[in-house]
Symmetry: C2
C-alpha cells in the first residue's frame, strides 16, 4: 500500500462507491458494507457516514471512535454483498469471506488488503449520532494499492442491484 | 413527470450521482451542481448535503429552507459542469444553459425539466450548517420522467473527470 496525500481523498469517495468499514473492539475486528457516506471537507478530509444502530459496528464505532474505510473494486462485489448480508455478532467476517486484515498505521481497526484504497479515520463529531446515526470522520492516513490500476467501483441502486463504473469523460471544470 | 413513492428515493441518490440543486429567493430561481450528498433515512427520505457558504445558493437555502434536487443523465454532463463553473450571482443559469424550470408542487424552487428525477425538499435540520455547511433535507415529493428509460448517471472523480454508469449487476442482497 502506498500513502495517498490527504488532499486527494475526496476523489475516492465523492463518486459514491460502495465501501467497507472496519472497526475493532476488545481485540476483535469487524467489517460492514456501507453506501451512505459523503465528503464534508477537502482537507483535512472529513467524511460523514450513517451507520445504523441496528448494525453491530455502531457500538464499536461509537466506543472506540476509530474505523477504516476500504474501497473495493468491482471484482469484490459478491464478497461486499455477503459482508452486508450478515452480522459480526455471529461470525468473523474476515475469515468467513476470505478478506485479509492488515495492520493500520494510526488506528486499531485493520485495513482490508484486497481493497484498492484504505482510509484510516477518527470520529471527530458525534452530535448527530443520536438523531440520524450520522458520524463525522476525519481521515488521518490514506493508502492506495499501486498494483490495482484504474479500479472500477460499484454503486448500489437498491435490493442488490449495482452499477459498475463505465467509461470516463473529461470536461473543463474550474473547480476541484 | 410521474410521482415516485418516497420509499424509493434512496435508490436514486445512494449510487452517488452528480446532481443539480435549485433554490428560489425573492422571485429568482438558481441552480448549482452538487456531489456531496448522501441518504440519511429511507422513509421519510432524508438527505444530507454540503452546500458551501462560498456558493450563492447557500444563503437562499438557509433563508428559504427549500430546494429541489434534480438528477441529470449523462447526456447533460457538459451543462452540469458549466452550471458548476459559474455563479447565480452573475447570471440566470437556467437561461444561460438552456435548462427549463418547471413549477414544483410543494416548494418554491423549480424542478429541472431535462432531469430524469426531481426531489422536492425542505431543510429539516441546520445544526451542522455553521460548522460543516451540512444541511439535512427531507424529501416531501418525488418525480421521475417516464420518458427517460434506464438513465445513466455521472459520478465526479475530481477536476472535471467523471465516470459514467456502466453495466449493472444483480447480487442477492438481504437488505434494501
Amino acid at each position: 500500500m502506498k500513502a495517498l496525500p490527504l488532499g486527494k481523498v475526496y476523489q475516492l469517495l465523492e463518486p459514491g462507491p460502495v465501501v467497507l468499514l472496519t472497526t475493532a473492539r476488545r481485540g476483535r475486528a469487524n467489517v460492514m458494507t456501507l453506501s451512505w457516506h459523503m465528503m464534508v471537507e477537502f482537507e483535512p478530509p472529513r467524511v460523514a457516514c450513517v451507520v445504523s444502530n441496528a448494525n453491530y459496528s455502531h457500538a464499536a464505532l461509537r466506543a472506540t471512535r476509530e474505523c477504516v474505510i476500504a474501497v473495493p473494486a468491482a471484482h469484490l462485489a459478491s464478497k461486499v454483498v455477503e459482508v452486508g448480508n450478515c452480522s459480526g455478532r455471529d461470525l468473523d467476517k474476515f475469515a468467513a469471506f476470505g478478506l485479509t486484515p492488515l495492520p493500520a498505521q494510526k488506528v486499531s481497526p485493520p485495513l482490508v488488503a484486497e481493497c484498492f484504497a484504505n482510509l484510516e479515520c477518527q470520529v471527530s463529531d458525534t452530535r448527530l449520532v443520536n438523531i440520524y446515526n450520522l458520524f463525522i470522520l476525519e481521515v488521518i492516513q490514506a493508502w492506495t494499492d499501486p498494483a490495482q490500476k484504474n479500479p472500477k467501483t460499484i454503486h448500489h441502486q437498491g435490493y442488490g442491484r449495482f452499477v459498475v463504473d463505465g467509461k470516463t469523460i473529461k470536461l473543463k471544470s474550474l473547480k476541484a
